[in-house]
């Protein structure tokens, strides 16, 4: 009977739960789904991470290659993110060129990398004007159940912490690069940006970590990306119902708590991995 009501009136069905301050999957309005992370599972990539937020699954693989630095910044490397939403993750995506949602997500991740200064592009330079590293970060969604931006940001951060770059020296005589695979070092990760997404309902209620169905019924979304000092790298609100300053303040405090949870989880995983 409940399933029938849900199909016919999804919004009313959802409102009944919201009145009791909870959601259909039993979570409270401010509760996140179970987050699991698996680092270093792809052996052919220089860094990788798999993040699961409830059912939403995103895998990030990072490959480092050589490139000539840009002419206007000869001592900087590149970080090129790409988010892929293939048909296998949800029936709403078709195969072919990236759709609008994938492009917007790629742009969002590029903005987070740029704004948070997660790595200094100068660290990626090998020889100014001649050779630099380019990190291709590929984020692929394996299962789309809402809140893709949070999962992608977390996967990117975890994968970057896992990247090991070999030492490169330029041979003066031959002017060729010599790669020493035996000496590898981790990237210098300066900040840890963590994204927290909210969905707005009926212009008043804010719920954290929406699932696919909740996103579809929402009247607006908001994503806050915060680093450990409480500084914001990104406040992404692409339209939707309006929010007052006070509601925004509540979102900020929730984002701060979420940052602590995620940082703790990631530190535990990295600690359990270090002896290699």
């Amino acid at each position: 009977m409940a399933a029938g009501f849900k199909t016919v009136e999804p919004l009313e069905y959802f409102r009944r739960f919201l009145k009791e301050n909870c959601r259909p999957d039993g979570r409270e309005l401010g509760e996140f789904r179970t987050t699991t992370v698996n680092i270093g599972s792809i052996s052919t990539a220089d860094g990788s991470a798999l993040v699961k937020l409830g059912n939403t699954t995103v895998i990030c693989g990072i490959k480092a290659e050589f490139a000539a630095p840009p002419t206007d910044a000869p001592n900087k490397g590149y970080v090129v993110p790409n988010v892929d939403l293939p048909p296998l993750c949800s029936s709403r995506f078709r195969s072919g060129p990236p759709g609008e949602e994938a492009q917007v997500a790629s742009q969002f991740i590029a903005d987070v990398i740029e704004n948070s200064q997660i790595i200094q592009k100068e660290d990626l330079c090998i020889s100014p004007g001649k050779l630099a590293w380019v990190l291709y970060c590929d984020l692929i969604c394996l299962d789309y159940d809402g809140n893709i931006l949070d999962a992608c940001t977390f996967a990117l951060l975890a994968a970057l912490k896992n990247v090991q770059l070999p030492e490169v020296t330029i041979n003066e005589e031959t002017a060729l690069a010599e790669v020493n695979l035996k000496k590898q070092s981790y990237l210098n990760i300066r900040t840890h940006p963590v994204a927290t997404s909210f969905a707005v309902f009926d212009d008043t209620l804010l719920i954290v970590d929406p699932t696919g169905e909740e996103e579809h019924l929402a009247t607006g979304t908001l994503t806050v990306v915060m680093d450990e000092e409480g500084k914001l790298c990104c406040l992404h609100k692409p339209g939707g119902s309006g929010l007052t300053g006070a509601k925004l303040q509540d979102c900020m405090s929730r984002a701060v708590t979420r940052h602590k949870e995620v940082k703790k989880l990631m530190d535990e995983v990295i600690k359990s991995m270090k002896p290699k």
Binding site: E100, Q103, V104, S106, Q107, F108, D111, E114, N115, S116, Q117, T219, G220, D227, G230, K231, L232, C233, C234, L235, H236, K237, P238, G239, G240, S241, G242, L243, T244, G245, L248, Q249, M252
Partner: protein
């Protein structure tokens, strides 16, 4: 049937401001078609450029979708075409203002007006509203907000750079104050237009 379809098409294109059988969205669509054909300069010069424009389009579209009463015009497509004449900074805010006035001009029913305001924060924390292109480039953070006219709620926000929570609240308050000026300007210019005719 052929004859009837042809006359129907004639009515639509010559429509002008008269709402056709499908509503005011009709004449807007024809206009949009022409614009699109003419103003497509090197569309695929660089992929990155294209993505930045796509996300800007999405922001404007989502803001409009939140205020336009779509249920009054079922099975209608409302196309908004924005052509940049000159860019001297605060481009996204300018696009939002243009889109709002265009929707009012077309007679599309909306639940509120909206306006765009840009704030730039420089390295010592000074706030600059409506920055020039040069100020935007040198700023530590650039925040663009879309606010509605009823109670200055935040409809859309997009930010670039690093800033603290307190700075965000400061910028939001300044933007809300500035939006009053923009809405007053809307009212004055619309009064001027309708008082003449």
């Amino acid at each position: 049937v052929e004859g009837a379809m042809q006359t129907d098409a004639k009515i639509r294109t010559a429509g002008g401001t008269e709402p056709g059988p499908q509503g005011p969205g009709c004449s807007l669509r024809h206009f949009a078609c022409e614009q699109n054909l003419l103003s497509r300069p090197d569309g695929s010069a660089s992929f990155l450029q294209g993505v930045a424009e796509k996300s800007r389009e999405r922001l404007i579209r989502n803001t409009c979708e939140a205020v336009v009463l779509g249920t009054l015009h079922p099975r209608t497509s409302i196309t908004i075409v924005l052509q940049v004449v000159s860019d001297a900074g605060s481009l996204l805010a300018c696009c939002l203002n243009a889109a709002c006035i265009a929707l009012v001009d077309a007679g599309v029913p909306m639940r509120a007006l909206f306006c765009g305001v840009t704030c730039a924060l420089d390295s010592d924390g000074t706030l600059v509203l409506d920055p020039t292109a040069k100020q935007e480039k040198e700023a530590r953070a650039v925040l663009t907000f879309a606010l509605d006219s009823v109670d200055q709620k935040l409809l859309m926000s997009t930010t670039k750079g690093l800033y603290s929570d307190a700075e965000l609240q400061q910028c939001l308050a300044a933007a809300q104050a500035a939006s009053q000026h923009v809405f007053r300007f809307y009212r004055e210019s619309l009064q001027r237009r309708y008082s003449k005719s």
